[in-house]
Structure formats: C-alpha cells, structure tokens
Symmetry: D2
Subunit: 355 residues, 4 copies
C-alpha cells in the first residue's frame, strides 16, 4: 500500500507554517506537491519566494497561484490549509464536497463545541456541522481515528506540547485534573510572519516577556481535550512567554500527583509509576522521546524535527510532579504533525519524510 | 552628609558581577574606585582587561592587583566581594576586623542558619559567628538595618526577582504561604564567565531549557526570607530556565489568594487589594516599577537599570494570582543592588550612580 | 560658563534615535528635557511609551505632544530633530528663524552640494540656502565650527565609522584617496523602528546579508567629506551588511598606503607612521579609542557608549593597510554624537552626560 | 551501480563537523554508519551524546568507541576524519594502507606544498608523500579527480565560500589575479566546540568582531588553489569576522575586472560576461545557486543545506566587481561537501542524502 504517490496542495503557503509544509513535502518520498497558493505571491515560483528551496528541482517550476477550490480539487488528493481561522473553514467545506482529504492547520475544526469556539474566537463557527466529522490530529492519541478520516484538525503548537505529556497521566489517574499549570516559552515564529512592531528584531532580541495573560485562545482546545480524557471539566492555568529564538516551545507543567509517589523521577521504570505510564504510552512512539537520567528537554535538540522531548521530576520537598516538554512549534507543533497525520491517512509509514 | 567621598575596592573583579560593579562604581558621583583585585589579571589596567571602560580616565590607571587584606583595608572604606561562596567569607572576616564595611555578593552571609548553608552548599559555614551580624541587603525590605550595618549580604539574582513581589503579599496575608510556584527565565550571564561547553554560544543560542530541577541552591535563601515574613515555614517550587539573552531574569509566580479577590488585576488601586498592597509597599520606591493597564514586564525594559518591574493578574477562571517580575540579573540582581546598599550605608541618596 | 542649564526639545522622539536621545538627555547633568514630540504618541508620557525610562522622575511627567514650531521655540533653546530626511528641513528653517539652535540627525543638512542631495535622495533640497550655514557635526574634525554654530548636521552612523578612521590618514597623505573600500556590518536598529517583514525577528536572527549594493545613500556624505579632506574627488566602495545584533557597526577599511610602510601595525608610535598619525589626531580625544597590542575592535565594547574603537594592521603580504572601527550606531553614530555637539555648542564639558 | 550500500565510519565525531556528519549520514539513503569514535564519549550511544538524533533508530544502538585503525578498517569502506590537523594524517596513512577510502576534513592534505604547510601550521607535514595522491575535494572544480580517488582533502569552510565564486572568473580571465579582497563573516560554530571564554554566549552575542588579521591559516589553501587556476601566484587579502549566528559564512569579494564590463550585474546572461561565465560554470550544478534580479545571498537561505548562493554586482562608480557568497560552514563548508565527495567516489547520485 505504501508505494502509491499522493498529490497534495497547500493553501496559504506564505506564512511560516506554510513554508515549513513546503520544506517537508518537497522532501517527502511519497508525495508530489501539485499546487501552492498565495494571493500575495501568485505568479512567482517557490524558488523565487523561498530561495532556500531552490535546490529542489520542483521548487523552480511550481508557481504560487490564487486559491481556487475547483482547481485545487482537480490537482490534489490531500489539501493542507495554512490559513487564518475563519478563512480555513470556507475552503474546507467545498474541498470536502469535491472529494479531497483536508488537513487544516487553523483552529477552525479543533473544538467539538461551537459555543466554545465563539467564546474564544469572537464569532460564530462558520461550519458547525463539520465539527463532529473532524478528527483532532494528534497521532499519539487519535491515530486510529485519523486513519479513516477525511478532515483532520491539526493541533496548535502550545496544545501539542501540553497534551502529549498530560494525556497519559490523566488517563492513568496519576495526576489531579485540577490545579494544572502550564508555563510555556515560545520562539518568535509562533507569532507568524506579521509585520508588527512587537515582533521586530530589536523588540524581541534581548527581550523575555509573558503575553496573553491570563486567557490565551489555545486554552479552549487544550481544556476540551483534557476534559475529554479526565472525564471532568479541566481548567488550566496557562502562561505563554516570548523568548528570542526562531523556533521551539518549552513547556514546564506543574502537577499534583493523585497519591504520594515514592520513586525518583526518570530513573527506574519499575519503581516509578510516572515512568511506567510514559513508557506504556510512548515507549514505541517514533516522535516522543522520553529522556533518561539527568537529561532535561532542550529546544535545540528538537528544532527541525518532529519530536517532542519529555522529562519529569518528582519534587520530594513540595510533593509536586514537574513535567517538561520541548518541541519545534513549526514541525511537531504545526506542519510536521500535519504531515504525520497525512502519512497515517494515506497508509504510508508514519515517519515517511519526517526523519 | 552626602558630599563626602568613599574609597571602595572590589575583590574578584574579573567575573560578570565584578565587571558590572566596575561599570557602576566608575560612574558613581561619590565614590573613588581605589582598588580592584584579580589573580588572573594582576598587573593589567582596567582598560586593558575591559576595553569598554577605557574612556573613563581612572580605568586607564587602575591596575588589577592580587587580593591582600592589609592593603585593601588601607585603601578602601567599603569592600565589595565578588567571589565564589566559601572564598568570600575568608576575606570578609579579616576585612571587618580591620574596620572595613563589607558588601558580599556571594551566598556566604545570606542565610541565618548554618545548617541550611551546609545542606545546600555541601560544606560547613566558614564563619558562622558572623551570620547574625550580616544584614540581607534587599533595600526595599531591610533599608533600616542596612543603614547601620558593617556586613551586607547582597541577595542573589533569582531571590531578588522572587522576594520583591512576594514579601508584601505574604506580609499582608493576601496569598497563601503554601503552594507557591516560581518559574524563572534567566539570561546566560547568570552562569558567570565560566568556560564550560554548556555556555558556549552555539549551545545556548537557539536553545531554551530548564536546569537545576527541582532543588536549586538559591531556594535556601528564598525560603528562609519568605518564612521569616510568613511566620511559617515556606517551601517553594522553583524552576530556573536558561534563555538566550545576555542579561535579564523574568519570573512568573503562581499564587493562591487567601480570600477570593474580585477586582481585575492591575487596574484600580481602590478595588484591588493586590494593587493597594503593592502601592503601599512600593509606590515610593525608586527601583520598583508597578506596571499599569495592559503592560507586562519585559526584560528589555530593565536591562542596564536597577529596576524591578512588576505586574499581576487575577485569573477568574482558576482563582489564582499571577505575578510577573523582570530585573537585570547583574544590576538589581547583583551589582546594582550592592551599590544601592552602599548608598544607604554611606548616607548617599539611594539612587546615586544608579539612574 | 558650564553651570547654566539648557532647555532642549526632541522632535520625532518615537524612533530608535529619538529614544536614545531621550535616554541620554534624561541623564545629562546640564540639560532639562522640555519637550518631546511624536504624532503617534501625543498625549502619553515618556514613561508610558518607553517603560525603561520610568524610573527617571521627569519621564513620568513629560508628555509627547504634536510638533508645533512656535511652542518648541518658546520651550527650548536647543531642538534635536530626529525626523526623516525632507521633513527635518521643514522644522529647521522656522526654528532657526525663531532663534533656536538646531541639531538635525537626518541627512538634510549633511551635504554642501544640493545637486548631490537630489542625486541620492531623489528630490530637490528643501532649503538649499541653509546648506552653507550648516556645520557637519563630527566633533573630532569640526569642533571649532560646531562651537559657534546654530545648525549642526549630525553625521550618519556609517559615515561616522568611516570618516573617523579615514580623515587623519588622508589629511596626512598616508593613504591613497583612490581605491578605498569600506565593508560595514550593522546591527538591525540601523533600519529604524519600521514594521517591515525584512526586519522581523525571524528574518534577521540567524541571518547575515549584504544590502544596498552598490550605491547606498550614505555614500554621498562620506564621499563629500573625504573629498574635502583629500583635495580630490574620492569615490568609495561601500558595502553595508546586516548582522543580528541590536546595535553596533563594525567597519573594515581596505587602504593603499602612499609609500611602503615598514613597521608592524599598532605597535610602536615611533616606528609606525600610522600609529603616529592616529596618536596625533586622537590621542587626546575622549571618544576615540586607539587599540594597542593584539586587540581588535569589538562592537560589544562600544555598545551603549559614545566611543569609536580603532585598530589597524599593515599586511606585509599584500602591502595594504587594514583599519577597523567599531561604534554604537545609535550613540556615536547618532544620538550620542548629537549630544556631544550640543555640549560643544553650549560650552559644557564635551563628555557631559556621555560617560 | 547506485544501489550498493556503503559502510562508513567517522573518526572524531564529537565536534560540530563530526556531529553534522552524523546527521547527514544517518539520513543518507545508501549508507550504513558502522562506527563513530570519540575518546571523550567512548561507551555512550549516539543518542545519549546527541539527543537530537535519538529518533533515528541506529542512533540508539551505535556506541562511540576508541579510534582503532584495525577495527575501523574492518568495519568501514569509507572513513571520514573529523580530527585536528596533524592528528588526521596519523589515521589516514594506515587506513589507506588497509584499503579504506579516506575523506579528511582537516587541513592535513589540502596543500600540495609541504613547505607552505609548515609555514602556516608551524610543524613539518606528517605524511608529505601522500600530498600528491590527495584530491582537493571541491566537487564543482575537481569532480573527475574525486571520482577515482582514495584520499580526499575536504576544503575548509572559508575556502569553499571564496573558491567557488573566484575560480570560474580567474579561469575565464575576467578578473585580475592581483588585489583580490575577501571579507568573510562567520557564525560561531566555525570556532568548534572549544570551551574557551572567547566563545561563551555572552562574549559573542551582541558582538561583531574581526579576528586573525592579517594572516589566517586558511589563506594557504585558498592561495594555492587560486594560483593553480590563475597560473600565477595569487596573494589574497582575507579578513574573517565573527558574527553572532550559529552557522553560516557570508563572503564579500572585491575584484578588478580585466576589461571594463558594461552590463548591469546579474541581469542578462547575454550582455553580462560575468553572468555568462557563472552560468557556464554552475548553471547545472545542484549545489550552486546563482541569484537573479535584486536578490542577494543570505545565510538563512543556505543554513542546513549544501548550497552556495552567489550574486554579483558591477559598480559603475568604482569599476569594481562585487561578488557575494553564502554557505553553511558546517554543510557545504565541511560535512555536506565531504558527503558530496563520498557520493561521487561511490558512484551515488551526487545529491543523495543532501536534498
């Protein structure tokens, strides 16, 4: 089943996530990049807009075009949407009708509840009927559903770094669903390629700052996912910070173990129920790395890869469990995860194009 | 009293804190830098070792010398110790005996309890008799004691960014002394000028990582100070992270209000007991900046200054109080605070040389 | 004469140069900052727009206002113009008429020849009659003229780092006026606070690139100044590059000595005519640092200061003279130099507020 | 011929070049990484030392071992030497005797003349007999010789960025062989993973500086190669600078055209002999990118790739030709180029593992 090739399109390929999709799909062994759209760059080749890809021969012939549903549906079997929320749904609906598989990197299909969408995004959901059909594209959790799905809502960058470490612990009832704190540090590419003064080099370099305190939009999708797993409404304390790196998110989670846990963190899978839980959940996952010994996650070890790094420590002085995750916000936090979902949907090896 | 001049010496002026002391003292209006010591640089002028100071005429004549107590005591009325812990005490004892005032930037005199020193630093305290005489050099809290003191233990960089926001809230019984979490992000100069691979440019640039989890040495001094204020043993959750900036510490504190607090954070000093508390504690402090409106602390706004920035938000969804502080780890977190203490000890305007 | 105080205004205080002027003038011992203008920020205090200055008490009361000539002329004896070229002249003319001294940081009055202005800036000079009255504000070269002047054209950032090393060598006929190459590396603040995609953090961080090849606007002012000194038309090869630092310009000059020079560079002022020339020109200058021994300029040693660092090497293999300069583009390359000129114009010690 | 697999070893895999070789060889479609050596890390797996590779299954089983020639020769058909100069030759000699193909990333076999080696490296060449057998591993120039060679001396990082743009112009007699200036800017990884204070984060971040002026070791290999092509002794002016990026070298070349060239740079391959020359030399090269229109090289467009970007401008005011190149110092400047050479030696598609 794995040697058939898939024609794919990227709608909205001019932002950082779209550019990263281009990078990954140009080097994917089973994919032909059939079309990339951008109103801003229509008519130019990929190589002209993104010189860094020019040594890939297809980048010298593929031209950005205006996004037109009929054309996209003829050219591509899978369409990636790298568009602002609200706009993505406008493309997803007709593309699905014309038989495409859609992988949406926006927030439009990540929530099950349109009321929560309205609360966090400020407008009615543009296609509420589709919410039930969309699968939340976190392969480590929803692999089976992704396999047969036509519409995948690829998770946000912060949610990925929070849900991957939390879901197994909540499922196993090892930590309390209340009182969870997620303190996240993100590179500047997370803000997108927006020409706003706040993201100018001189405003970010030698700057460390929190933002969006206390109610960031990503909370909605994180809390919905955690609540599904915990079987109870989970309310999260989430503080994003901006740090001067291009890529990478480091999240430090503060958790309350359900019962006192005796073993030292990260040492013995036998004595340590946290380690056992993570080993059972992720021991065979190609893109989750459980750190051993004294190692702690470092964004530089995941940048450019589709990997989430995890480490954990029980603090005997406070009784808390500290879990730390690192990911590349543009790969596992966006485009790499979308490609991973595509691999599953199309029956390819899950790591194809991602190692 | 303020127009007398003071002769000062810096012992151990080759590290980042020592270099920052040189910067501040060269431009101080009431101070003559009489002596700087460094075994490594003995014989060279300040201008040769630190070209950035060469346009200050004294930097072209002052030479680093070997640290000798008798000579220091003859040359200087105030001696700053920028030495490793353990070594600092060896100088403090004889310098005090010879009548110098001593401001120590190491950890040697920050703790009252020598047993805690041993627990965290791994060896017996070298001069336990002096602990009772030393004053913890946080002017916003201990100004009166600093004024008459002969030995000031200047606070650590992380402790300053944690104690300044926490002490007024604990004193006013506005937050619980239990369950406090301090999540701190530090620039690389906090690691000192040590030639270790972990602090090479390529290992830090494009890297974000936690370290020292879960028991950092600075915990001892933070907890001792908080416990004094709270009247009960405070155990802190503290996670330091390394981020790729030269200078600056941003700390995000997660706190439990004692009673539900209704007002919005940072808006009205009347309706908001947190704002009222901070206004009472710091409204007149020259080096504490209470941010208003939507502003949040940003290290780039404090780097190079002796200021701590504070902002706070009540999260109505979780009931928690989030307080964020920013400081320059080498100024308010080290050398600037030491100069502030000296200004108090010598009867100068507290902001002299620091604006 | 030096204890009189001067009231100053800054027109256009919202860009990086304007902000740096604010920093320097707030801490200047003989100056009262009477007025700052910015259409964008009118009504807000300095402390609100630039939190980093909020610990200076005047920053909490001075409010940005609309730029109005009559008001400025009543409030200030010296007006600094930190405006785009073309706009600056519109303010300079009436301010001079109303008796203000004007220090212009734009390009409007740097050139003597209005034809060259038109060639490089694309429009007629807005006030050609004033060109003869304006003094080029490079104190190390034109100190005497600055002293009595009413209109100072403060040099550009690149020109400062090129003219300071070149003028003494050309005056002394030690290097050929033909074939000069200036290869400059600038921090991103040189591009101003413009919200353009090219200056976003992610587009500059981990990026090194040339730009404006081969005819940058600053060439006009550099070549005019060099030609004046050389007594012949000097045509310069100038290549600016953008490197990921906030501040700093490093310029490497490639020069042809007039006669073969035998001595080693930078070692002996007796044997080395280059060293002798620089020593004679700058040995007593407070803001030019002649590096000795093996030291080479480094932007980190001048950032935040008004200093230009210089070093030179004769290459016996090629016969060329290499001269390297470093400066802070916002201080010696803009606002610090403007304050230095003001100190001269007002009879203050030249280093006042700049050490 | 291309489906046979090759067993390779890396001797000295703990530095930045060695680590980059690991990255490239782990993802190479025709290679099995049989052995990696490092005295420092012997006994640890690749995944333990370099967590970033841990998601590649072989990285979890391959262990660093002590470098032993007999063992290497049994395990590998091709051995990459990523060792200091002088040490590399000690391994190359016996490995060649035992039938291995050797690709040396040090300077040991780059020069033809052992006298020049001694002049620049300060000691006798350890294996002068081998110099005649070694091929300089710049595929764009010496592809045919590399194909049949047993010993490839992979070029240095600076030489690659200088030779690629210069050799075609010198060969075509379009530029003078005298008076060439190469002004290069390098990221900090070029200094290697050496724990020296000069390369600490805080000493490099916000720093721009020249070094090694005027006689850098790489001059020897650059000049020897240029002289071979020009048919006359070429003496180069070369100034390396350190800029705060992890990776990337940008070189700006200042050249004298042989005859006045009329056409505008980089526009028309017909009217412009420079463009025609580059088109002929590199139009079909997969790893040389000739920029068109207004585009100029930018290290961020080559980092992580094996590409050299080139652009050129004729300056009508000075008559000079400016050529600018960008490369990743660790890929095209070191390990990628070595893999490219291996692909040629082993009959693989030249881009295998490098796209």
């Amino acid at each position: 089943m794995s040697e058939h090739r898939t024609k794919v399109a990227i709608v909205g390929a001019s932002g950082y996530s779209g550019e990263e999709l281009v990078r990954l799909l140009l080097q994917h062994p089973h994919v032909d990049l059939a079309s990339v759209t951008s109103r801003q760059y229509a008519g130019q080749t990929l190589a002209q807009v993104f010189p860094r890809f020019a040594h890939h021969p297809p980048a010298r012939t593929i031209r950005f075009c205006e996004p037109k549903v009929d054309l996209l549906a003829r050219q591509a079997q899978v369409v990636f949407l790298a568009l602002p929320h609200g706009v993505a749904a406008e493309f997803a609906v007709p593309l699905l009708q014309q038989g495409c598989q859609v992988i949406d990197l926006s927030a439009d299909f990540r929530l099950k509840d349109p009321a929560i969408y309205k609360e966090f995004y400020g407008h009615d959901h543009p296609a509420p009927d589709l919410l039930a059909r969309a699968v939340y594209g976190l392969p480590e959790i929803y692999r089976a559903s992704i396999r047969g799905s036509l519409l995948v809502a690829s998770p946000g960058c912060y949610p990925t770094g929070i849900l991957v470490p939390l879901i197994p612990l909540l499922r196993a009832r090892l930590v309390q669903p209340r009182g969870i704190i997620a303190n996240s540090l993100s590179g500047v590419s997370g803000a997108g390629r927006k020409a706003e003064p706040a993201y100018l080099f001189c405003e970010c370099h030698e700057s460390v700052r929190a933002y969006g305190v206390p109610k960031h939009r990503h909370l909605s999708e994180i809390e919905e996912q955690l609540s599904l797993v915990a079987g109870t409404g989970v309310i999260l304390q989430f503080t994003p910070h901006l740090v001067p790196v291009n890529r990478g998110i480091l999240t430090t989670l503060y958790l309350e173990p359900v019962s006192p846990v005796s073993g030292p963190g990260g040492v013995s899978a036998v004595a340590d129920p946290i380690a056992a839980c993570y080993q059972a959940a992720y021991g065979e996952e190609p893109f989750v790395r459980l750190l051993e010994g004294k190692a702690l996650p470092d964004t530089k070890n995941v940048v450019g890869t589709n990997v989430v790094e995890l480490a954990w420590r029980l603090d005997p002085r406070t009784g808390r469990l500290i879990v730390i995750s690192a990911e590349d916000n543009l790969v596992k936090g966006a485009s790499g995860q979308a490609v991973q979902a595509m691999n599953i949907m199309r029956g390819y090896p899950e790591t194809a194009g991602l190692l």
